[in-house]
């Protein structure tokens, strides 16, 4: 048994860490967040030049053929810098769906661009009524002579504001929450009838709701077999959950280091506040939560690319549940340990806290995954 990264994996993580440290200061990040793009085109370019946007893809695409562990290394470091680039949405989730469901022609058409970072993909799986149930889809795709007509609305599509390609789920048959009858479509956001309502997000990124008004797409827009998308969505969301857990660990590590520094530096009543036992024990609890989260991020990374199984589902649900709870604990207690300064926009801690809370609102919160896990308690492999 060996929990250490291989030399290659360590080099990969160090590369990302150096890049983030060098180019992603907190002040710069605030600036990127306020641009229309919402992230740094230059940093995205650098990720691409170092081959990092290609990490999970096969070698013929310039990738490493990276597993969950390589993705974990990248995401943890991006989390540490609160990086705003659409790595999760485009490379992990978008690229994952195309690689999993796409025909050879579709893969050839899109994946080189995704792997090089030139083609930014955003994925719309949620809807206004869906909560976190990705089978709860009302958007319809009606078959036409030339392809399909899409109508409906996809909710909170992170990165959708600047995406070059949108992947959305839509119902080709079945009732609202049926697993069967879901299909995936890849479309150009400039297609007639696609309307985007853009907004910033609480954690400094950008996204949109996508309204599809009788959008005509050709048959080549269908990604995967008609009506068979549910299992693919579940599998690829699972990979994204593992990546999100890794990101969360980077955010938590930074948040905890910052809190610890503050407890040592801040003096009240003539002593550093870290001398007070109540704050010491709280710091211990935060660190224990981080350890739990770290373990689950490692476990989820190790199964992320495995064949689907009950065990894989259980682990990913458990990991997201732990990450959600740990993230909230560290965010709230970190703010409390800082006092008022932890609540100011100009001090980075507040932004780490916001990211941790918002990670719990992506791909299912701790309650959602508790229910998923509970639902699998009696399922035999």
């Amino acid at each position: 048994m060996d929990f250490a990264l291989t030399e290659e994996q360590q080099m990969l993580q160090d590369t990302v860490a150096r890049l983030v440290r060098g180019e992603y200061s907190f002040e710069k990040r605030l600036g990127y967040s306020e641009t229309e793009l919402g992230f740094s085109a230059e940093f995205w370019q650098h990720l691409s030049e170092l081959g990092l946007t290609a990490v999970p893809f096969d070698e013929e695409l310039g990738g490493f053929g990276g597993t969950g562990v390589e993705v974990q290394s990248v995401m943890t470091e991006l989390g540490r810098g609160l990086c705003l680039e659409p790595y999760l949405q485009s490379v992990i989730l978008g690229g994952g769906l195309i690689a999993h469901a796409g025909t050879a022609a579709q893969q050839e058409h899109w994946l080189p661009g995704v792997a090089s970072g030139e083609l930014k993909v955003a994925v719309g799986l949620q809807e206004p009524q869906s909560y976190y149930n990705l089978n709860d889809v009302q958007t319809r795709a009606e078959k036409t002579d030339a392809g399909y007509t899409l109508s409906g609305r996809k909710a909170v599509v992170i990165g959708g504001h600047c995406a070059d390609l949108l992947i959305v789920s839509a119902r080709t048959s079945g009732d609202e929450r049926d697993a069967g009858g879901l299909s995936l479509f890849a479309l150009d956001p400039a297609t007639a009838g696609v309307e985007r309502r853009n907004y910033p997000t609480m954690d400094g990124a950008k996204g949109c709701d996508v309204v599809l008004n009788n959008v005509q797409v050709g048959a080549e827009a269908l990604l995967g077999d008609e009506g068979q998308a549910s299992a693919i969505i579940e599998y690829q969301s699972g990979r994204a959950i593992a990546a999100l857990c890794a990101e969360a660990v980077g955010v938590m590590e930074e948040a905890i280091a910052m809190t610890l520094d503050y407890l040592k530096a801040r003096k009240q009543f003539g002593v550093p506040i870290g001398q007070f036992q109540v704050l010491q024990h709280r710091m211990v609890d935060m660190s224990s939560e981080l350890e739990q989260a770290r373990s689950m991020a490692i476990l989820s990374a190790s199964v992320a690319n495995n064949e689907q199984s009950t065990e894989r589902k259980r682990i990913l649900a458990a990991a997201k549940n732990v990450i959600g709870r740990a993230g909230q604990f560290i965010a709230e207690n970190g703010i409390q340990s800082h006092g008022g300064i932890g609540m100011t926009w100009e001090y980075s801690f507040a932004h780490y806290a916001k990211r941790l809370i918002m990670i719990n609102h992506q791909l299912g919160d701790d309650d959602h995954h508790l229910e998923q896990f509970a639902g699998l308690l009696h399922v035999e492999e």
């Binding site: 909560y131 909170v156 100011t344 916001k354 992506q362």
Partner: protein
Amino acid sequence: MNINYTPEELAFRDEVRSFLEQQLPADIAAKVKGFRHLSKEDHQRWQRILSKQGWYATHWPSEYGGVDWSPVQKHIWDEESCRYGVPRSIPFGVNMVAPVIIKFGSEAQKQHYLPRILSGEDWWCQGYSEPGAGSDLASLKTRAVNHGDHYLVNGQKTWTTLGQHANMIFCLVRTNTEVKAQAGISFLLIDMDTPGITVRPIRTIDGGYEVNEVFFEDVKVPVENLVGEEDKGWTYAKYLLTYERTGLAGIGLSKAALSHLKALAGRVLKNGRPLIEDTTFSQRIAKIEIDLMAAGISNLRIIAAVEGGGMPGAESSMLKVRGTEIRQSINDLARRAIGPYALPFVEEELELDYDGEYLSDKDAAPLAPHYFNNRKLSIFGGSNEIQKNIVTKMILGL
């Protein structure tokens, strides 16, 4: 034992209700209930209505224009105010500096300031905390040097709530550096228009502006603006803090937030059914409602003791801790209730006069910002850690 209101108290509650039904402007109530920002004008409009009714100064004796309500009546007023969506009164003038002026101020100060507080002419803010003096307030460094007819003030205050609207600030300043920290502090009333004062807004985690830094550079303050005696300010400050801590438990606010949450959870869908019917979520709500029920009765027990002539003691510290935890939990659930829609930060929907299409539920936009903003509840007014220290010493004798 009879834990119900007396017939007189019930009659008073009816009077309060009918006043609020007739006089509280609907637009203001809607902002309050939806956790939206109020403008200075909103606050002032409501204050004028209250003053006209004679119900603005609930903590003052009647000889100064106060209402002179009993503790139970004050409680009824607070509770009904929260239920109807009355703006939280900006306490710095009416509930904080005024009681200090009434108890320790000069006759001239009473004559000058109290009517101006009642009429809304003066908007006060609080100059207590400093960058290096938060929980350890007595370590404050802002210096005031006595030059005969005036003090020369230099230093910096922080977390000054709504200081951007204020024309007056009450400050704790150091007038004596030779004695131990608490003994060298004085209580000064300062006109914000005095040359040398700069207000700098602090943007908070939720993107809003409600607190400020206030800088003092060679600010001349007339000696008649000293309250009571020089170097005795700590006594007055502590007196004021007992006023600050009453009501910090926010039971009424929690009840209002809970009914807002339940209405929201009745509209949001999960698997095609209202979220409030979902086992996991409804149990989360139920647990908080039960905690709130208990805290509500604890609050009434304290009020009854005060009504009977007692002083609110360290029990109010315990209640502040519990009460703020409950409110924060309700804010947490409201944010959770909207699921993925906690992510969008739709600033334009924070304004009540927004007339565009709502991104999701009409009440969704303020929920995540409000959750983050209310992390302050366990920090301000004496952090919950400080409150627990008070309970440790005063009640437990440890």
